[in-house]
Symmetry: C2
Subunit: 216 residues, 2 copies
DNA sequence: ACCTGAACACCGTTCAAGT
DNA sequence: ACCTGAACACCGTTCAAGT
């Protein structure tokens, strides 16, 4: 009578799901070991049997959130695939507005982070970059998406400070502030920066293939 | 005899300097209200007279760290100025390896953050981007530098996880892992992504001026 | 009116005591 | 051998009590 309803046998997946749910409902501060344990109806120390440190648990939460970022269409061109996978990552994170900022910068160590990373790598390799540049470019893309997401969420939340920055920047750039200015963290803003990076990669790839044609 | 040595009259600047020093010596966790107060020899609550919340104090620490990022040479071309100001921001942050990650993502609300932001804005405006795109591009650049710094520092510190990611990426990209692969968070890695962004901006600017020449 | 410090409501993690 | 929960060493911030 007491071994079925509350005791879900406590797997890492069950713990991560509970943490994600708590984070969605009550923000990042709710994802504490004690709160998660209380939500699961177990002792806080029971979690340490599955995650030696809290950081590892948060990595698992991040990966869970990335689960519904789909792989890009394998028949599309490499630059479109790159665009699509990064847009999918942003969309998946934005579905959890309360905690995406705390998720975005975690290293993609687990299943879905690796899957999406592999899609990026494959697209960059197809672009014609040499392996070392594939690594460099992928790290730049990961850095960009992580920080853009952090801004997205912090601006969308209680944090007024990024809005203040937006005002400052708008006034400096010489147009009417707040008028038709891009909103910090908006999808449009995200896509602009992503386009800059992809354009840069296209240029790099073109330089490479030109060089390869010219030198031999 | 007791009013001169310890009691530095407690200004925001004195508090931020103490916090930065503590962070450099003992890492981000040492920048707690209690530790800073102990270091200054005052009651923790005395800090709240100058900073209503800890977040504001950390913003001030970040700005202090940016103080020795110099403005770019005003006679240089816009793209070189852009490169130089972002490189200077990275160099300033890297001088505080223990805490740069916690500094990098703070909104540039204060003196030096605004000064460096203004230099970026001016360079982008000179590139020929319309005001809305100046805002978009500057936010993309800020996002990139922030995340790249966070990775730089986390990889340089105790955090082995980013190195693990680097291994995964290297092995996926099809070359020998750890051999001559770019190191995550290295200056070279940073400059590669920055070059991608600047190339993208150059392309955007060229598209703009071409359009302006063609349409009238 | 200003300042102090005790107190509140939390943390992550260790470790000795139980089963 | 495994699991529990008390305990340790902290947090940011509030607020009543002192001057």
């Amino acid at each position: 009578m007491d071994g079925m309803s509350q005791r879900k046998s406590l797997t890492p997946a069950v713990i991560a799901a509970a943490a994600l749910r708590l984070g969605d409902r009550e923000g990042p501060a709710a994802m504490s070991m004690r709160r998660i344990a209380a939500d699961l109806g177990c002792d806080p120390m029971a979690l340490y049997r599955h995650f030696p440190h809290r950081e590892g648990l948060l990595d698992a939460v991040a990966d869970l959130a990335l689960a519904d970022a789909a792989d890009p269409d394998p028949n599309a061109a490499w630059d479109l695939r790159l665009h699509d996978v990064l847009t999918a990552i942003r969309a998946a994170a934005v579905r959890h507005p309360g905690i995406a900022a705390h998720i975005a910068m975690r290293p993609p160590l687990h299943q879905h982070g690796r899957r999406l990373g592999a899609a990026m790598i494959a697209a960059l390799a197809e672009a014609g970059l040499p392996p070392a540049d594939v690594v460099r470019a992928s790290q730049a893309l990961v850095a960009y998406v992580a920080a853009a997401l952090a801004m997205t969420v912090q601006a969308g939340q209680k944090d007024e400070r990024w809005h203040a920055v937006s005002q400052i920047v708008s006034s400096m750039s010489g147009s009417l502030p707040g008028d038709e200015m891009p909103v910090v963290g908006s999808r449009e803003q995200f896509e602009y920066g992503l386009r800059l990076l992809i354009t840069g990669i296209q240029g790099e790839a073109a330089r490479r293939t030109e060089g390869a044609e010219a030198s031999p």
